[in-house]
């Protein structure tokens, strides 16, 4: 299905050497969890873990595309909050109306970002910072700063609550489809290759006649759309549109992408490693919760923040040490 290299482990490593750390860390953490906690590998824990982290996976893979172009998208958290409100308002019309329109509203924010960045030449950091404020203001205005409850009579709630074919929750199915689709787009399509090339060297890509602008617009629109999907998950999972949610999500997503070994300067990175990065950061929380359940010491929410930061630090240290210093998370 994909080009064969993606499945050849040795070639994968040689093409994505920087993502080895995240896979090792993920395997170690899962092994630790399986050995230490009885219910860690239970179907319940796995599905609820994936269900909760689906939002973060969605925005992380979108963010990966943006970062690969050498940009950044700080607006995803606010956009997800905005689209969760949109989805909640449209939920009475059913999922077939609410979901596409909510995602489209996310795409609209992404297109706005792209226009400012590509045509007005405003730096991505500033553009998406402004969009973050604008989307937050917008979602507070349309919701009156209230949570907007989802219509329980409609089929919208199915997404967060029910399982596809009685096995896997719909949220997980959707996010899995998204991940595979984006993996294919990045590795196999011309626009994906252009995105990788842009991050590797924008001027060279322009000279080679690649459609750089189109690739960048695609990346930001995609990131907005992924944030839109995360907003739909948020509304369906919690049964309400949440204008105040999403604070700090952009930084979690950036952390996932970076922990997955994608260079912030662009050009080098992979979708599966980004998913692994998101799962890894989520797993730290999951394990701390299990540890609390053991009753030895309890990690308050405050300690969890400290440990999460320390963990991010450890992974970054590991990456810089294991790999050639200047090519990993360095500024080159």
């Amino acid at each position: 299905m994909l080009d064969q290299n993606a499945f050849d482990l040795r070639k994968y490593i040689s093409r994505n050497p920087q993502s080895v750390a995240v896979w090792i860390a993920l395997i170690v953490l899962i092994a630790f969890g399986l050995m230490r906690y009885d219910n860690f590998g239970s179907a319940y824990n796995i599905t609820s873990f994936l269900n909760y982290n689906a939002m973060f996976i969605a925005i992380s893979v979108g963010m990966c595309f943006v970062i690969l172009t050498g940009g950044i998208d700080l607006s995803v958290g606010s956009v997800a909050a905005f689209t969760s409100v949109v989805a909640a308002y449209l939920s009475p019309y059913g999922i077939e109306v609410a979901m596409p329109l909510a995602i489209l509203s996310g795409v609209a924010f992404g297109l706005f970002n792209a226009i400012c960045i590509v045509y007005l030449r405003i730096p991505p950091f500033i553009t998406t910072l402004a969009t973050m404020l604008g989307a937050k203001g917008g979602s507070l205005v349309i919701s009156g700063a209230q949570t907007i409850s989802v219509d329980w009579g409609s089929n919208f709630t199915k997404l967060g609550m029910e399982k596809a074919f009685d096995v896997v929750p719909w949220t997980i199915v959707l996010v899995a489809i998204l991940v595979v689709a984006l993996w294919i787009v990045l590795e196999m399509t011309s626009i994906g290759r252009t995105i990788l090339a842009v991050g590797g060297g924008e001027d060279a890509s322009v000279m080679m006649g690649l459609k750089v602008n189109r690739a960048k617009i695609f990346a930001y629109a995609l990131s907005g759309g992924c944030a839109g999907l995360a907003g739909v998950f948020l509304a369906s999972g919690f049964g309400a549109g949440q204008p105040l949610e999403g604070v700090g999500w952009e930084l979690s997503a950036i952390a996932s992408v970076v922990v997955g070994g994608t260079l912030l300067t662009g050009g080098l990175g992979s979708i599966p490693a980004t998913v692994a990065g998101a799962l890894l950061l989520g797993l730290v929380f999951n394990i701390l919760n299990f540890e609390n359940g053991k009753g030895w010491i309890s990690f308050s929410a405050y300690w969890q923040m400290v440990i999460r930061g320390a963990f991010l630090f450890a992974v970054i240290l590991f990456q810089t040490r294991v790999m050639n210093r200047n090519t990993v998370v360095g500024q080159g």
Binding site: L120, I122, G137, L251, V258, Y302, W303, Q304, I316, G330
Partner: protein, 327 residues
């Protein structure tokens, strides 16, 4: 900037000048609008409120300007504010602090700033020594710094009554808030540092071209670390001021979203994200503009949420004008 040749028509000359001083023009427009429209704008009380609000943002924004001048960014400023703000009451409310009030007060000013300095060293070391991207390096403290503050205080709101400490936030000299004077003093000091010292010269050189600065024998590492340390210490100071204004320390809210305000103020004030410029007084101008817009909207009955959108528009417009000026 670009020198104009005599052949260029007067119109370009005029627009260029307008762009050079876009910030001042914007400030003038906002001021005139307020004087005409906003009730009670020209009163000492309004002025004092705005100065005390703007001083904290300006102090952090000036530190951010130094970091941005090196081509970096510091996302941890809000977390550092929370940390230093949580430490101060812990110290002067402790047994030691209540037994020796004077020593306790001095310690409550000193140790939080030391803690902030350590945070700055941490950020600087990761950026300059490990060569991690600034946004990621400072993300670590952004995530865990507030957590440390909340662990220290158990997440509790600490309230206190300590007039000497509160002077930092509520005191007045010649009728103007103390922190306003403090911000101006810091601005003068930093202006001297940037424009008259070797540290300042290398600071700008690093942002302009890091490799060149390094090859010419500049102490690139130390200067970079220095920028992060100054930024952190100023954030720590801002954290103390906020705590002093409120006579209460809330680790969850102190400095929340300050990184955005500080970056916005620095950028509106003329800092270039790719580095190489450190407009210290520009940062104050940016902070004033952002604060005044917020005040204008609120005083005229526009809701808080809409003010966010206005802020977004200002940031985009300011940077677009800068960008146009460069090309």
């Amino acid at each position: 900037m670009t020198s104009l040749t005599s052949e260029e028509p007067m119109r370009t000359d005029f627009t260029n000048r307008l762009k050079q001083h876009g910030g001042l023009v914007a400030l003038a427009v906002i001021l005139i609008f307020n004087i005409l429209v906003t009730p009670n704008f020209l009163q000492a009380q309004t002025l004092a409120v705005n100065i005390s609000q703007v001083a904290t943002i300006a102090i952090v924004a000036m530190g951010m300007t130094l970091v941005i001048a090196t081509g970096g960014i510091d996302l941890s400023v809000g977390a550092v504010m929370a940390l230093s703000g949580a430490l101060a009451p812990l110290i002067f409310l402790s047994d030691f602090g209540t037994t020796y009030p004077v020593l306790g007060l001095l310690a409550a000013l000193f140790f939080p700033l030391v803690a902030a300095l350590v945070c700055g060293l941490f950020n600087g070391a990761i950026v300059a020594v490990l060569k991690v991207q600034p946004i990621i390096a400072t993300l670590i403290l952004f995530i865990s710094g507030r957590g440390i503050a909340q662990v220290l205080t158990n997440g509790n709101l600490q309230t206190f009554s300590n007039p000497e400490f509160s002077y930092l936030g509520t005191g007045k000299i010649l009728g103007f808030p103390f922190q306003g004077w403090l911000a101006i003093a810091i601005a003068c000091l930093l202006f001297w540092l940037v424009n008259r010292t070797i540290f300042g010269r290398y600071l700008l050189a690093i942002g302009g071209n890091e490799r060149a600065a390094k090859l010419s024998g500049g102490p690139v590492r130390r200067v970079k670390i220095g920028a992060y340390v100054i930024c952190s210490v100023l954030s720590g100071l801002a954290g103390l001021i906020v705590v002093a204004i409120n006579s209460a320390s809330d680790a969850a809210r102190n400095g929340n979203l300050m990184e955005l305000d500080a970056i916005a103020a620095a950028v509106v004030g003329g800092a270039l994200l790719q580095g190489g410029k450190a407009p210290i007084f520009g940062a104050i101008l940016g902070a004033v503009i952002i604060q005044l817009v917020k005040y204008t909207l609120l005083a005229n009955g526009v809701e808080d949420e809409v003010a966010l959108i206005a802020k977004a528009v200002i940031i985009l417009a300011a940077v677009y004008i800068q960008q146009a000026r460069k090309e």
